[in-house]
Symmetry: D2
Subunit: 438 residues, 4 copies
């Protein structure tokens, strides 16, 4: 038995060795020696991290939590001194001891070539682990804090992506498109023709990798069906005649940047650029999915409505009569679903309006992330589009419904403030659809 | 009398109005509304700052101190909670309240186009004011903290400057050369020929402005006279045959970046690049000024040495005999000085060695900043050069003496550690020159 | 009846009007007025050409022949004067009147934006027409003459094509690959990986269109099967270890440049570039098709060999026994063909050697254009590869055989001279395969 | 004596050896072998030329005349055949034998790297020699012919030169400015500010050397004094408000391109570019020197006018009274000249108009080359400016007078035609100044 324990210990030592070596390198990097070594010690340290397996990565992140947090005794002493006297020296001391040392560690790691890329990979791993170990939020806050500072929109470069872009970049676009899958190079080609625009943000430390990109169609009306937008055969329109810019897809390429504001800035940048290039553009809208509508609707359909005859209950009954009460599997037989849906235009559109405009509550589990994103950006919920996306994914998520959010430059700030105060900014037309319940 | 007071008050209000408006805009930018407005509110706020006169700039910086510092009550409460329990939530709360809000303010200002440039101008003003108002150190710490993070070497681009560089960049180089003035385009041209190299750091947010640059001569020996290096007529040597890279000038271009480590990284980067391009290079050294030697020597010459006959006293007497005891004005009559100096090779070189190798003390007012910079970077004091620079400036500062600091890649880290521990790393040759005093 | 004739005449006039207007514009461009108008008249003239339908294009080219040829009377007078006295003035006069005026016309057209592209389109049409109207050779000689001067290798830029190249350029590559069809972007991607190279020539007047490109594999042996080279799944080798560069495809992109030497220069340029980048490369060879082997073999198989027992006849009989005498349709049932071929290694390889090494005759209708191209460039016929290409096209053209031509830099000039004198330069191995006939 | 002759012969042989080797290399390059060798033989041949001293260069050019001219016997035979029958074959044969073989030689030399640059140097030498050896015109015609074809405006790239241009390019501009000397970088800087434009033509075979450049001022009136344009201290105007583009300098950089039309195309290109960028521009004019006015006027002043009282004679008398009859040396004492000139506004301006508008005659030795250039380009002589240039050069050439030539886009072709027919196109104002003689 003793032997077994010893074996385990050895195994543990061996396993832990790589992590201990990395942690020691981190400590050294944080010391005076690290300052002098310049970039070389940062390189060595990052190399040690890159060699870790996934289990050791988790151990290392745990060590970041355990060994690179502020010292509570020092923090308390500094706080008391600062409370007693708000001198520059006391404030400096407080700032120094209250900031987790891992922040300075990450800043020094970031000096090495490809440091930023490795730090993003670290955070990707951290985000995975955080789901099971909520205490890692303390580390993640430091990553998020630094990444927000480094990926400041002032440091980003907006690049137009088109058919003159290098192939490796286009390959990234194909791979990371998350809203409407790009089915090969022909599909991509159509999305880059004269009546389309695609813009991406780049950071100088990751020159070959887009951070986020948005796809826009220049059209003469607010799009209501995604199939038309994605039709590879459709002839390209004349962008000079376009009156409406339809933002139909926005996708992040860097999982390690989750929670760092990029989309907001990208949309507003593109809005400005397009306004200049095409003075005839009058409207900027999205054609957006409603990813959680079915999830909200499904339990309601199963609920017993008894003999309720309020508009909300009637709509639910109409839907249940046509589709049954189990709509979760509807998309499995997509053709059948597409055949049965057309009759439900009115009740489903109204239910969707009711869903999107219901009073928000802080921890609303059915909250629509796309809606939150655009309303928080200052957009308005403008229109709900019936039979707007016939793909399986859309049938599953929203029974094919899609939404236009409208960005009106002069209303953006006011809309955002309303949203922050809890109001859902929506057009009269959408508000009129909301169904009263008893 | 009342009227006068009222007038003053109005004037003050009027004067203060621009500052108050700017501070209000800053508060707004820090709020939720600011987050939504994206870049536009940051733009507006920066524009308000740019319109301030110098007096109002000072007022605004004072407001940053008074109104955007951490709240001591909140900090103390968060520290106590964290001392009691080191949970993620408590740490997050602590980090949030202990960080001065002006840091987030600067980060948001930085989102605007040219935000970084304006922040650098703010800090330039701040550095001026700090000389008279030491409490501004509290604000400056925040600027320095953020700028160090943003101007991380991982984000900088090193660019070779040569005769193919755009004229506006070369104009920057001419303007900012701080060690050996560039006297026009012909002088610059010589410094960019085949046996020379010039490298600059750029940051993506300031694409047209170099941050710092270094000038290097590729030679077959360790340079001992700056005139030869700067001779516009000298034929260019063959860089492929060079054995020695002489870093003869390093200059900062951005006063707002004072205290942000750049030179250290630039020198090491250049060292690496040159090693690759020219495998025959064996030595990397500087030819550096000794800016405070005269300042150290002058009072000693005036001191009464009585009948002391120790080497140190004898050297001082020899110098005084030749130059008199008032050497501060020596450079005024430069020709005369140049005529009298040659006889003093031995005593002056020895005195300089004694000066540079005297035991360091923390607050050494005569400390040599150039020496500190290179030794802290891990260089070694290699050689003292007699009659190395005949310019008025050099006569005034160091009686024409210059120093070679040597960068030996494999010794850099160890040298730095010795320096940090208080040791002056110097060659045997230089150490042998030190004069014993009684 | 008269009416009909008149109608026809009118139609003819109407039809011919566009051509007459264009010819008039050409005459004007050749006059003094054209010189002054600079580029504008050239633009107008080219626009007139671009509007012609195919029939009118033919008419215009006929007009170039009829109206822009040298005047025989003037030529004769100038020749006689020059024969009498070889003065500068007489020579000048001779040069002026002997050069077809359409050359100057084309030079002036070429001044307009996109002039070169339109001239290439003109020649494309001309090459079509020349097949039926041999007199157009007189015009074509002028086009060829000018294009050779303009597309001088000294004016061409060689560009490496890789995965960083713009998508539109890669699309051109996919479209114009003429030897081994590129089946989509994945196929192309493999051809641009680390162990491959692709180089194209560009001309500054056609910045977006490659003129010709070559594909090279870096390998450790002389390739003998094209399938391996084209295997999309094959892992990329380490180019630094390669000993052999295999040129496996060369394709022209501009039909209007037929007959203008480009491939020769491209191959030699690439050879030089690769030698510098990879000093370990020892051999430069091709893996080339034998496009006319089947065409040469088919009638021989049908011929009556009687009881001949010479090696040549025996080989033919062996082939006929296995494949039948009608091999032209063999590729129609490719699987069947692939099953029956393996037994014929010896006789078919020998017959192919016999085919390639048979005495050349000026108007050899079965001459192999690929062989001529490489031998004329100074290559050597090095090896014949059995079952080297299983594609239908290769089965049809050469029963799957391919050839390696070897470029030995030091032998190129001598090889070319031998080829010009009528010798087929081939390795001993290939020469040993040749079959004696009675 | 015999010995001496032998010595001479040897010396001659030795001297001539380098030339003979070069000529042999040229013959080889023209042969079949040259075609195969590709670029390598062209390289070798050009290297041989580059090693020649100036005397051997002359010998080589003589050899080009003697050995690479068309064969009169062959030319005559081909002409007779073509006169008898205008077949394609006969025409081809004629073209082949009538074109001097040195043209094909130059085309093949041009294939080598830097071939074009060396050919331009050859021509530079040729132009020198031609002044004494008129028979070299026969070779020069071939150079001119090829260079005109290669430096076709369709192949040139127009580049804007500004303060972002590389220093080496700006140095070329300083060096080659031929009209108004650029006195250092400060002077150049002013010429590149916001209210100025500078454009240059480049050829892809000479990527680092401008061929020709033009300097333009954007102003609100037609400039009448060059000092104002060249004032380094003058504040830059707002180009968006400019109504007039003043072309105040055009300079060639490549002596080897003399006689190849470039300026004409450059001016018209710039005219088009500026029209697009600044739609408010209404007039495009020059401010040009009158380089031969003094040369024309001087003998007239010395002529005996007797008691003539026609306006022409009276003007001459008035000038002679004020300046004396020997005006050639006037500029030697420039201050004095500047003092005496102001009184002569009327007679001198009128004499200048008379000079510029006098009937042209083919071999007019006093013809003004600047006038010819602009009128041939389709400009109009718009205005004569009194005291427009006070530099010594201008006093010497034209007594300080300058001229505006006006480019009216819609009149350019008609103006050129008039000029070709012998008419001097001038404004009514200028024509009214012409003085009648008896």
């Amino acid at each position: 038995m003793f032997e077994t324990v010893q074996k385990r210990a050895t195994a543990f030592e061996r396993d832990g060795l790589a992590v201990r070596r990395l942690v020691a390198s981190c400590s050294s990097l944080l010391s005076e020696r690290g300052e002098a070594a310049g970039v070389s010690l940062a390189k060595v340290t990052l190399d040690l991290y890159r060699e870790l397996d996934r289990r050791d990565q988790a151990r290392f992140l745990a060590a970041l939590l355990a060994e690179f947090s502020p010292d509570p005794v020092q923090v308390l002493a500094a706080s008391e001194a600062y409370a007693a006297e708000q001198s520059a020296a006391n404030l400096l001391r407080l700032s120094t001891v209250a900031e987790p040392p891992r922040q300075e560690l990450l800043r020094r790691l970031n000096r090495a070539p490809n440091g930023t890329a490795t730090i993003l990979h670290m955070r990707e791993r951290l985000l995975e682990l955080k789901m099971e170990r909520p205490e890692f939020e303390a580390i993640d806050a430091d990553f998020r804090h630094l990444l927000s500072s480094w990926f400041n929109p002032g440091f980003l470069q907006m690049v137009r992506v088109d058919w003159r872009s290098p192939a490796y970049l286009l390959e990234h676009i194909i791979e990371h498109e998350a809203v409407h899958e790009i089915r090969g190079w022909e599909d991509l080609r159509r999305r880059l023709q004269a009546d389309r625009r695609c813009f991406a943000f780049f950071h100088p430390a990751l020159p070959d990798e887009p951070l986020i990109f948005v796809e826009v169609a220049l059209a003469d009306h607010m799009a209501d069906r995604v199939e038309r937008l994605l039709d590879v055969q459709a002839a390209a329109g004349d962008p000079a005649r376009a009156t409406t810019a339809v933002f139909y897809s926005i996708s992040n390429c860097q999982p390690g940047l989750r929670g760092v504001s990029l989309g907001n800035f990208l949309i507003k940048n593109v809005l400005e650029v397009l306004s200049h290039e095409f003075p005839r553009l009058k409207a900027f809208c999205t054609l957006s999915p409603v990813p959680a509508f079915t999830a909200w609707l499904a339990p309601l359909l199963k609920a017993d409505m008894g003999d309720r005859s309020d508009p909300f209950a009637l709509a639910l009954k109409a839907v249940a009569a046509q589709l049954g009460t189990d709509i979760v599997k509807l998309a499995v037989d997509a053709d059948n679903a597409r055949a049965r849906l057309p009759a439900l235009n009115e009740p489903l559109t109204s239910l969707c309006a009711t869903y999107l405009l219901r009073p928000a509550s802080g921890a609303d589990s059915a909250a629509d992330p796309v809606q939150r994103f655009h309303l928080n950006n200052g957009a308005k919920l403008e229109r709900i589009n019936w039979l707007a996306d016939g793909s399986k994914k859309a049938l599953r998520e929203s029974l094919g419904l899609m939404v236009n959010y409208l960005y009106e430059p002069q209303a953006i700030e006011a809309n955002h403030e309303k949203f922050v105060r809890g109001e859902i900014v929506a057009s009269r037309r959408v508000r009129a659809l909301v169904l009263d319940a008893m």
